[in-house]
Symmetry: D2
Subunit: 335 residues, 4 copies
Amino acid sequence: MIIIFKENAPEKEINLLEKEIRALGLDIHKSKGQDTLLWGLVGDTSKINMDWLAARQIVESVKRVQEPYKKANRKFHPQDTVVDVAGKKIGGGHFQVIAGPCSIENTQQINSVALSVAQSGAGLLRGGAFKPRTSPYAFQGLHDEGLKLLLEAKKVCGLPVVTELMTPEHVDLFQDVDMIQIGTRNMQNFELLKEVGKLKTPILLKRGMANTLDELLMSAEYIMAGGNENVILCERGIRTFEPSTRNTLDLSAIPMLKKKTHLPVIVDPSHACGIRWMVEPMALAAIAAGADGLMIEVHNDPEKALCDGPQSLTPEMFNTLMDKVRRATAFFREL
Amino acid sequence: MIIIFKENAPEKEINLLEKEIRALGLDIHKSKGQDTLLWGLVGDTSKINMDWLAARQIVESVKRVQEPYKKANRKFHPQDTVVDVAGKKIGGGHFQVIAGPCSIENTQQINSVALSVAQSGAGLLRGGAFKPRTSPYAFQGLHDEGLKLLLEAKKVCGLPVVTELMTPEHVDLFQDVDMIQIGTRNMQNFELLKEVGKLKTPILLKRGMANTLDELLMSAEYIMAGGNENVILCERGIRTFEPSTRNTLDLSAIPMLKKKTHLPVIVDPSHACGIRWMVEPMALAAIAAGADGLMIEVHNDPEKALCDGPQSLTPEMFNTLMDKVRRATAFFREL
Amino acid sequence: MIIIFKENAPEKEINLLEKEIRALGLDIHKSKGQDTLLWGLVGDTSKINMDWLAARQIVESVKRVQEPYKKANRKFHPQDTVVDVAGKKIGGGHFQVIAGPCSIENTQQINSVALSVAQSGAGLLRGGAFKPRTSPYAFQGLHDEGLKLLLEAKKVCGLPVVTELMTPEHVDLFQDVDMIQIGTRNMQNFELLKEVGKLKTPILLKRGMANTLDELLMSAEYIMAGGNENVILCERGIRTFEPSTRNTLDLSAIPMLKKKTHLPVIVDPSHACGIRWMVEPMALAAIAAGADGLMIEVHNDPEKALCDGPQSLTPEMFNTLMDKVRRATAFFREL
Amino acid sequence: MIIIFKENAPEKEINLLEKEIRALGLDIHKSKGQDTLLWGLVGDTSKINMDWLAARQIVESVKRVQEPYKKANRKFHPQDTVVDVAGKKIGGGHFQVIAGPCSIENTQQINSVALSVAQSGAGLLRGGAFKPRTSPYAFQGLHDEGLKLLLEAKKVCGLPVVTELMTPEHVDLFQDVDMIQIGTRNMQNFELLKEVGKLKTPILLKRGMANTLDELLMSAEYIMAGGNENVILCERGIRTFEPSTRNTLDLSAIPMLKKKTHLPVIVDPSHACGIRWMVEPMALAAIAAGADGLMIEVHNDPEKALCDGPQSLTPEMFNTLMDKVRRATAFFREL
């Protein structure tokens, strides 16, 4: 951590701060230029709050050198983490496609989609029972009934299931779920992160639509600090000024996250673009950029879907996509 | 709601959609150009999900004409709403300043700040007991103990209190709180919004740092649809590309929100800028733009604050600010 | 184009507007709902300024249905455009890599890079003679001398050359340049666009770092409307809130542009990311997403480069990349 | 400037870099932590290109401590600059309103607006002769003829005139213009900045719609480095995700710019919001935030304006605004 002092900062105040910093067990390297006094703090600064230093009248600015995350940091854990979701491995060379409808609507729908995505080669089944919707008047999911249908579909298709948890109060309902999704709007719902940090269930943590990669890693750190190190990160598009897609898919997040962390990184092109015909090119681009998996919305009848119809693939489109995905992952594995 | 069809959309599909739309009790006005077929849907479209239409193969795009919010909409409620927080009125010409520390640290600190802000003319006391922090290693607030200290400080200073609720599980602890704050990271924590929609307590709803004004109003609608119409909106800065301030304060949100909604709108310049010396000019600008109130962070010793020190005013600075605030609100009331 | 009127707009004003619109040769389809009056304008509205309508007191809002670009629009030109740059074709299945240093520094440097990128299989040589730099104190390029060196390097390596034009005043110096680049900061330098619209030379038009795809196409339209239809579009990263990369590469721009326009689309991963080790994964992702080419910065000694050293590949790295590019383009051509 | 080295950077390379840095006349203060080696460069680093350092394999990152602008920097020029535009002073306590139509349309229009804004108390007349328009098919201004009409209107109303220069080629036509505007899309048109840097005419430099404040100051530095220190900065709204206004007016730019620079700062609420009824509250907010002036679009018949009608005030609305502006500037001068 680097402290840059204001010109003419009174020596007395500087000495006081030095004592406080040394009391934390940190060492200080001082650099005095013609106009500028800099300090480099030496030691473990990951738990120091920059604001504590920035609040001082004598301080011009504070810059962090070390990353504030430890458990998620590749520096301290160089090998790729492989997350095992009920026998399906993700990360460290293991690639999985998670597929299914945005929301579970009825037995026939979820079973039909489940069977078809399994047959096409998906590794996990997704389906929403509790749905975060912008409007209070929109369909909010089937709730407990939806979870029940999802677990039945799991038996029908044989795939592990992933579904979104929206509040700590529902956590008991999710005991048989194989992977719990934390959605984009809850990436910084810290009480929810703490709650799933207590579980053993793998967590699929989606990037907030306006959150930086370091903030995503700090949210992963919340879960890991609680004891649950089975975290998979998911890039799903960020909010920008461009109106032609729902969000802007940030594929550079893949190599950058893989540099910063050992956790697996998957991509959700369906939510990023919000348009059916863009899913395939962006899915292939995600593979080329090094993703460990994909999350794809599939619906047996997208035109009648209760949510996210415009971006859902039909089972036939998904089958075609899976064929290309298999060939592309094989190609890039060899490249 | 306007539907624009794809060129060469098959008539059979169009006729099918017409039946479905009419079954919802809506009328259709058709406009056929040389290349383009448009439909205007007539009737109450506020509860129609645009995706349901956009998902059709025959549909090029869907545009909303009516706003999707009803209870928050000024069109259906032309008079300004006045929210009464334990005797302190906000909105409809009533202006209040909410002041206090970012987080409650101990009895001495909160009482000292409470007394000084009350003496300077603040209308409500703020103080965080449960703190949303980016890092799991940062101070997370005193929790129940913090709430207890806040309620004691309320007795000491005589001001109603405002504090942040982070999860539905804590709602019982907030029974004696006069106004509940929903923070920027929870603006789309829909389960939390539903929970506070069941209460009678006034809700201070902060704009998400990357949310549009219409999304803010939809979140207000969640609370109001649940039965709690005591909602105050708060602009607190949005995320942009500009690095010199923590966020970019969007003061144009004030007149725009006041056009769209009857709810009171206040401004938090402390979180928006993140810098102590910017609070005063931005507070005065907020008044000039028509804000119904301000939220200001004040700390007895900002240099030692456990959070948000860099943006906290000292009691002396706050006293000077309040003098200017009083004069500025009087000036603009007359202008 | 759709006009939505304000409630209670006076009929007299509406009738007046109707006359003006019909005088432009447009037809009007009217739709009257319970609260809302809509008009659909029928005919060629591409040259109508939306502001002319939006400025009316009686108008609530105006929405465009037709795209405002014609010559760049795939609707009116369904086949892919193939641009021929001195024998090197780009677009419609023809893929090219443009490579070279950010700026031309001296004979030895540009010739050395030119020869090595040619040997590795680049199709065109890039090199800056006039450099847009944020700081007036930074190296601004060798100017006329740089152009001379570039044209000599062209003879040495046998590749067509691409270089940036910054102002209409320099256009005469660019007569022997094979493709003229319009940089990101000049995408809306309309006088410059008009100037290159008068030429026959192919134009490489880079997306402005905060411009939408429709704005990019309107800038292409400026050039094409002037008579020069040899335009190649280049995605090079957009400005977002994410600080870990210089810009955020928007690969979804590739399929979206290809839907909207017949012009070729290439990608510059070097400027987008600003980091050497990210160039390869993002170049491969661009190919997977359907790009018609790549623009890659290569320097014989990146550590001593006068600009953009951090993102420049060494000739060895470029050679390895080209091998993968060849295999990836072949793979995706077959997929 | 601070250099952070990679772990395990070879000493030989580090020693080499040390020699190069010392050869530039800079001193180095070294700080060696347990994992991290930092250097603070001491001396005038304003002309060092950070990329030159960041490109090294041994360098992890480079952080700037000193600002890269000198002439625009308040540190080296603590007093407010007062720019005198043909007798009208701006800055250092002098406040001016610049008003007029977006574009000059004909004699009657510009003279009528000129007289009315002068009568209402505007200090300068604006009017566009060369108009940057997104569409090549939109009205592009009257060009030379427009300038002629503007200079005639100047005689009629007695106010100095401001108009936009779009390309170096037109500079000779602007000899009698009192202040030259560089528009938002040309803020980083560096050849144009160099050109106006050679003049004595005051320059109104508008912030690029996606440019940071430091980039704005670097563009001012371009003009000042050329010898023209008569620069006025103008905040006119930035591009964000919020769709309800044309841009987001960043009023926090005013106090922040005034901290960073001695140059005057004015605000253009018309372009920022794009909506007539928002001009007044945002103009008053700009005054409260400390602006040195305002730029307001006024048209004698906004509904017929050839451009920017939706945001143009009528002369009557402008007269009402000017009355409030006078009272507000007087109020804040005393506050």
